[in-house]
């Protein structure tokens, strides 16, 4: 297995990660680490996970040769890892399932989560409904407005939605509010963090739970093509789908790993969500990582057309992989994502979420660079049904 990337005892990936939480939460975070360390090697837990992933989530997800897109770009052969076909329409449920099973194991009765686009909220509410647990989802007021279908979906699933108006009313503020709730309800509550960030052990735990994507993709591409891909590409907000795809390939040095951040209106405009390309190391939400911040250490607002990428930080393992140069981090603008969204829909009959549409924008260049002999695996980490209304708005279409 990959040894050089397991965080150390303090939960650090190089200089990144750690446990920057108020003392009230510290004992919980330490307990969670113990429980997770035991659970992940417990055959009973593993069997439980495998069973639900197969029968409830629908894994393994397919790998699909995007033939018409490959032809269109005229270069490398492009394969999609189809995590958008999972139950609830995104990769998020891989993680929620594991964390909720862990919550049950710890005897917790109440689940809380933050959500941006609503995909993590829907996945958490879904799994909480399945296991009969109370579920409270914190969501920025601005995001509630732009993700109405998901809000209603969560309510149907029995979750309580708490609108967050503090700060900028987006994902980071929802996470602040979830942490405040957790500090207040430490006894009965489990906080299901949706991305590979937060205090240790979350970044490691979320990575391990999402690594099913990369393990399957590696096996599938070897079977279909008889060799490893030249590159794996994934979009990055907090970075859970990307680390899930990349992790099992980290030791395959010949495989280029490429993360695509949201460049919003353009990196030079300052209105973006590209923490690595436009941020500096700092401390937020329990970990030290690259963050968008102003010239006085205040956290800056992120901007992206995609609510799921609209976060001023990034998981600490990505910060580490960036600094050691193992993963290349690029970015794509709102406009490029919109164009790719439409292109993929027309050519492949797959409506991608706006998040992976960012990844697709860079796959286009990469396909040309690699040429006809190249092989690319892109994580199609979510489907775009949730974005249809927002996209219509951006295209000036009334529906």
């Amino acid at each position: 297995m990959i040894n050089n990337n397991t965080p150390d005892q303090q939960g650090r990936f190089g200089d990144f990660g750690g446990r920057y939480v108020p003392e009230t939460l510290m004992p919980l975070v330490l307990e969670l680490e113990q429980v997770w360390t035991a659970a992940k090697v417990d055959p009973v837990f593993i069997e439980q996970m495998d069973g639900y992933l197969r029968d409830y989530v629908g894994r393994p997800s397919a790998i699909y040769h995007a033939e018409r897109l490959s032809d269109h770009f005229g270069g490398a052969k492009i394969w999609f890892k189809r995590d958008e076909l999972n139950h609830t329409g995104a990769h998020k449920i891989n993680n929620c399932l594991g964390q909720v099973l862990l919550a049950k194991r710890m005897g917790k009765t109440r689940i809380i989560a933050e959500t941006g686009a609503g995909q993590h909220g829907v996945a958490t509410a879904t799994v909480a409904a399945r296991f009969g647990l109370e579920c409270v989802v914190f969501m920025g007021a601005k995001d509630i407005e732009r993700q109405k279908p998901n809000v209603f979906r969560m309510k149907l699933l029995g979750a309580q939605i708490v609108p967050v108006t503090s700060g900028t009313g987006t994902l980071k503020d929802a996470m602040n509010e979830a942490l405040r709730d957790w500090v207040t309800n430490v006894d009965n509550t489990f906080y299901v963090i949706g991305t590979a960030a937060g205090p240790h052990p979350y970044p490691e735990m979320v990575r391990d739970l999402q690594s099913v994507i990369g393990r399957e993709a590696r096996e599938q591409i070897l079977q279909r093509e008889g060799r490893l891909p030249d590159a794996c590409v994934a979009c990055i907000g907090g970075g859970s789908n990307a680390i899930g795809l990349f992790y099992p390939f980290l030791d395959d040095k010949q495989v280029r790993l490429i993360g695509v951040e949201a460049a919003g209106k353009g990196l030079q405009t300052g209105e973006h969500a590209a923490s690595l390309s436009g941020g500096k190391p700092g401390i937020l939400h329990g970990n030290r990582t690259y963050l968008l911040q102003d010239d006085d250490g205040q956290i800056a607002d992120a901007h992206s057309i995609s609510a799921g990428l609209d976060y001023p930080g990034i998981g600490p393992e990505h910060s580490y992989l960036h600094d050691i140069g193992r993963v290349e981090y690029l970015s794509a603008t709102d406009k490029e994502a919109l164009d790719s969204f439409q292109l993929c829909t027309r050519l492949e009959g797959i409506i991608p979420a706006l998040e992976p549409a960012h990844a697709l924008a860079r796959v286009a260049d990469l396909a040309t660079d690699l040429g006809k002999d190249g092989l690319i695996v892109m994580n199609m980490c979510g489907r775009g049904d949730k974005d249809v209304f927002a996209v219509a708005g951006h295209l000036g279409v009334e529906i």
Partner: protein, 265 residues
């Protein structure tokens, strides 16, 4: 001089059988000038120790009152350098009263632990409480502060139990800050008996004074906490009074709270 200011402030009250009153306010709320008036008036209103809040965009341990104060301050353009200049002004006027900065790690990390510690010492700061730096993460700052004779005050929570309590207390400096409720600032009202037990337990492991904060809003609660602790911290109630009625009214509020905290048990 710095850490001993804290020790002396507690000792003076203890010599009279009293608890110390610790007043928290947000730097730069609603703007620098108004917050300066409140800051400079706190010792005369009865504050034995002053905690000056450093505004942060994402304060995860604060209730709504202090969150909004931080936002007002940042909207008014408050910078970390302004917080330190407030501290300097305070130190010139009040050479004896301990001044403690309270806030979050990122704005300090941004400046650099060592560089900020030096600047804070120069401004006359005696201690710091950094909410999101638990003992596991606080070593670099603690060292930088120690080099400048500034105390990094540790927080103990109701969840700090078992083996963890002596472990966290083994590195304390200045005084111990007991967070009286599991929650954010200014929300729940602490339970007198639970707080008394917790303070008793803490004192089995340290000789330093124990102050209690989070959820103390009224003179009645302040008096109740003073009966079992060496210091009483009030924050949200002062911040709310400042927001509603300005510095003079906030100082009157501080006086009532301080009088209650100074009541001999």
């Amino acid at each position: 001089m710095s850490i001993s200011r804290i020790t002396t402030a507690f000792a003076k009250r203890a010599a009279n059988g009293q608890s110390a009153f610790i007043a928290y306010m947000m730097a730069g709320d609603p703007d620098l000038l108004a917050s300066r008036e409140l800051l400079l008036g706190l010792p005369d209103a009865g504050a034995d120790i002053v905690e000056l809040g450093m505004p942060f965009s994402d304060p995860v341990a604060e209730g709504l009152t202090i969150q909004q104060a931080a936002q007002r301050s940042l909207s008014a353009g408050t910078k970390m350098a302004d917080v330190l200049s407030l501290a300097s002004d305070f130190r010139k006027l009040h050479p004896q009263t301990p001044l403690i900065l309270m806030g979050y790690a990122n704005p300090i990390h941004f400046v650099g632990w060592g560089k900020f510690a030096v600047a804070a010492a120069k401004a006359g700061v005696d201690g710091m409480i950094i909410v999101d730096l638990p003992p596991e993460e606080s070593e670099p700052l603690a060292q930088a502060l120690a080099d400048n004779d500034i105390a990094l005050i540790r927080l103990i929570a109701p969840t700090t139990i078992g083996d963890r309590l002596p472990k966290v207390l083994s590195g304390v400096c200045g005084f111990v800050y007991y967070v009286s409720v599991t929650g954010v600032t200014g929300d729940a009202v602490p339970d007198a008996e639970l707080v008394a037990n917790a303070v008793h337990n803490i004192k089995l492991h340290t000789d330093l004074p124990v102050a209690v904060g989070f959820g103390v809003r009224t003179p009645q609660t302040a008096k109740m906490i003073a009966a079992c602790a060496d210091g009483v911290v009030v924050g949200s109630a002062i911040v709310a009074a400042m927001h509603k009625s300005g510095a003079k009214a906030a100082c009157e509020q501080v006086k009532k709270l301080a009088d209650a905290a100074h009541c001999k048990a």
